[in-house]
């Protein structure tokens, strides 16, 4: 009896208590999750579109059409007066393209007196053959007088046609490849003498006005030098500055001002650093234009605030108990910082540094003003020689008129993306492996 009287009101009150907007709240939660999924889907869609357009345009750049020629290193052509023993410079100035032309004429059965046909046929192989054969002969003069089977690059238009990038359905006068050249291409292809091979030149050649002999060589060396300079300067300076600000400096108006300035600098557009670099490093310190040293210094200035902010955050994340414990067992302040705090903060510092470096690797704007957006053909030996950078090369190729530069632009973007991916993955691995949680 007492049970029922006690239970009855409870049962009756139940529906009222359960009406706490559960349905509405579940719906809100589902809605929010959906927004999240939509946001991620939009992000993934754009990423996929970017990757698709870059890769579908660019993967062909890693293969280059080459033609196999039985080149007769005819002494009559290379050194008609037979004075190479006394004057080695004849080997440098010899007319090497003639060797390739003769070899191709023989292969295709074109008469050497048919000048229009010979001219048209010469377009099948690249002018870069001069440099290629010259290097071979200069390295090994005993080749003269022998016949060698050598793969030489085809001209850029032939390469584009071979890859199907030139619309051959339009009338002959409107395209860069003639019907006769297409016929020769088919013939060589049938004989297996013309095929696509891995384009190692893309990574070794410097800038060139000929698409087939232009590559990322100078840009890779320039970017490497700049990254080394940025790493070598901004890491020690940034870490030293942060340690001082975080561990030694007393909080005062001055440190507040410094802090605000550092945060401001991190948001300054990079072109401003280029202007600064031009005024300070080139006009005042008289450093050479277009040199990767100046580029590295400018990018150092740009990266420093990022590294300082990341380092300070990493130092702050080390719990005070570690510091107290170190000081408590008699460590000096410097010992405390270098033996305990810095090692624990290192993963955070390295992550920040790598992200800063990746940012610097992708910059073009500050390099414009110091002369690094340029045509540089000679590979730089020291950081004082003119050089370009990877994103600069992408920008320069994107502005070229020839069709063959389109795939190279995307190819260079793929290379840059790979570098960035490797750097960012390294940052993640470092963080995963060494990070400590308290």
């Amino acid at each position: 009896m007492t049970d029922t009287t006690l239970n009855a009101p409870a049962v009756a009150a139940r529906p009222a208590r359960r009406d706490i907007g559960l349905k509405r709240r579940y719906a809100a939660e589902r809605r929010f999750k959906m927004y999240g999924i939509i946001a991620i889907a939009i992000g993934i869609f754009f990423l996929a579109a970017l990757l698709y357009s870059v890769i579908s345009n660019g993967y062909t750049a890693f293969w280059q059409t080459e033609v196999n020629l039985a080149i007769n290193f005819d002494p009559e052509v290379i050194d008609p007066d037979n004075k190479r023993a006394t004057d080695p410079s004849v080997l440098l100035t010899a007319n090497y393209p003639v060797l390739a032309r003769n070899a191709l004429a023989e292969k295709l059965g074109v008469s050497k007196t048919d000048r229009p046909a010979m001219r048209e046929m010469s377009k099948l192989f690249s002018d870069g053959v001069r440099g290629q054969l010259r290097e071979l002969v200069a390295a090994n003069p005993s080749l003269i007088g022998t016949t060698q089977n050598i793969w030489v690059l085809t001209g850029a238009d032939i390469d584009s046609a071979f890859k199907g990038q030139i619309d051959i359905s339009v009338e002959e006068s409107r395209r860069k490849v003639s019907d006769r050249q297409l016929g020769w291409m088919e013939q060589l292809k049938g004989e297996g003498a013309m095929t696509q091979r891995f384009n190692s030149g893309l990574f070794t050649y410097g800038a060139s006005s000929r698409p087939e002999t232009s590559g990322l060589g100078v840009a890779l060396v320039g970017s490497l030098y700049m990254m080394l300079i940025v790493l070598g300067l901004s890491l020690p300076i940034g870490v030293a500055a942060s340690i001082y600000l975080e561990e030694y400096a007393k909080k005062s108006r001055l440190t507040d001002i410094i802090e605000v300035n550092i945060n401001n600098l991190a948001a300054v557009p990079s072109i401003v650093f280029g202007l600064l670099g031009l005024a300070v490093f080139i006009n005042f310190f008289n450093l050479p234009r277009s040199a990767s040293l100046v580029g590295g210094l400018v990018l150092t200035l740009m990266t420093l605030p990022t590294i300082i902010i990341a380092t300070r955050a990493a130092l702050r994340a080390v719990p005070p108990s570690i510091r107290s414990a170190a000081l408590g067992v008699g460590a000096s302040k410097t010992q405390m910082v270098f033996h305990h705090v810095l090692p624990l903060a290192a993963p955070g510092i390295l992550t920040g540094t790598i992200i800063g470096l990746a940012h610097a690797l992708g910059e073009t704007a500050p390099l414009l003003l110091i002369g690094m957006v340029a045509f540089v053909a000679n590979s730089p030996v020291t950081p004082l020689d003119p050089a370009t950078a990877l994103p600069v090369q992408i920008y320069m190729w994107a502005n070229e008129a020839e069709r063959a530069f389109v795939e190279r632009t995307s190819g260079a973007i793929i290379v840059l993306l790979l570098f960035l991916a490797v750097m960012n993955i390294t940052a993640i691995i470092l963080r995963r492996r060494f990070e400590r949680r308290w």
Partner: protein, 347 residues
């Protein structure tokens, strides 16, 4: 440890600074017009291959104005030797050069460049005249004797012979050297030809304002400024098949399988019609040499001589193959003689 780090960094900067100042530059440095850039690149590359004892010159792009500004910074190893330009140097620029110590500037004219109108290859044939361009793209045109905002929205309203396409023209942006040629040779000429200039003259504007009124481009989205390069214009034509783009002759010839070129005053643009002066929309291309650097920077004189040689700028040279319009024989010789004689620009 931190002290060592910062000391090492300072040391690195100091060493770099001293070596930079001490080493003599053995490479020619060129900057300037993006129109001249492809030609300068071809010559620079061939120069490096032909003269194994000189390094390949470094060629920067960035525009005629920026190049001349860099050129006029002064004399010395950390200033450039040559400025490329798609227009002649202005008097004010020459003055700033002289003020900065660049007293002797040698002007070299390398040839001509033509500007063409082109549409998608699948479209109909186009025949334009400066009047058509003016009526289609000017900000204000004359209707019934009055100057009004441009009312034309279709090409066939401008000229019944043109197709029934919405007006959408991709023209060079205001920072391009090409824009000046476009304004002068098409808009100003069209302004004259349609007698709009006479109506403008009655408005009581001073000479400068009247000329500016003639070449003002409409801002209602029918004429689109392209600040990038011709590759961007081509992408716009790809996206809008009824658009009309302005290209350099060389760029058009490299993409003739995608584009159809329009005639201007009935003349088909080609290297022949431009060098003979028949095709109206063309301009000379220049570069400027710092005389004080000749004999100081190794290879500079040889580079200019090589550039002006007929095997480069001549009718069968690689520059013509790329799209440059060669100057007539006599003019090429005059340029060579003027450079050899060391003639400089007079202020």
């Amino acid at each position: 440890m931190t002290q060592y780090f910062s000391k090492a960094a300072l040391l690195a900067i100091a060493v770099a600074a001293s070596t930079g100042a001490a080493s003599a530059r053995d490479q020619i440095q060129v900057a300037g017009s993006s129109t001249v850039l492809p030609y300068a690149k071809i010559v620079a590359e061939a120069f490096g291959e032909t003269f194994p004892n000189f390094k390949t010159p470094v060629v920067e792009s960035g525009g005629s104005g920026a190049g001349i500004k860099e050129f006029c910074k002064g004399v010395g190893e950390n200033t450039i030797d040559i400025a490329n330009a798609s227009r002649a140097m202005k008097d004010t620029e020459l003055k700033s050069c002289v003020d900065a110590g660049v007293k002797d500037v040698q002007e070299v004219r390398i040839g001509y460049d033509g500007i063409v109108f082109a549409t998608d290859i699948k479209g109909p044939d186009w025949a334009l005249s400066p009047s058509d361009v003016y009526l289609a793209l000017a900000a204000k045109v004359v209707v019934d004797g009055k100057l009004v905002d441009n009312p034309n929205t279709k090409w066939n309203q401008v000229n019944p012979k043109l197709p029934d396409w919405d007006i959408a023209a991709y023209i060079p942006g205001e920072k391009h050297g090409t824009r000046e040629v476009f304004e002068e040779k098409l808009l100003a000429a069209g302004c004259e030809a349609t007698k709009a200039s006479e109506t403008i003259a009655t408005l009581g504007l001073d000479k400068k304002a009247a000329a500016a009124a003639c070449i003002a481009v409409r801002k209602d989205g029918k004429a689109i400024d392209i600040d990038g390069d011709y590759a961007e214009t081509l992408a716009r034509i790809d996206a809008n098949k009824t658009g009309v783009g302005v290209f350099g002759l060389a760029f058009y010839e490299n993409n003739a399988d995608k584009l159809k070129v329009a005639t201007v005053d009935g003349i088909v643009p080609s290297t022949e019609t431009i060098s003979s002066g028949k095709y109206p929309v063309s301009r000379p291309l220049f570069f400027y040499v710092k005389k004080a650097h000749l004999g100081v920077i190794p290879g500079l004189k040889e580079y200019v001589d090589f550039f002006l040689d007929d095997q480069m700028v001549g009718e069968d040279g690689p520059l013509v193959e790329y799209g440059l319009v060669a100057a007539p024989e006599a003019e090429r010789k005059a340029q060579r003689d003027a450079f050899a004689a060391g003639e400089t620009l007079k202020n």
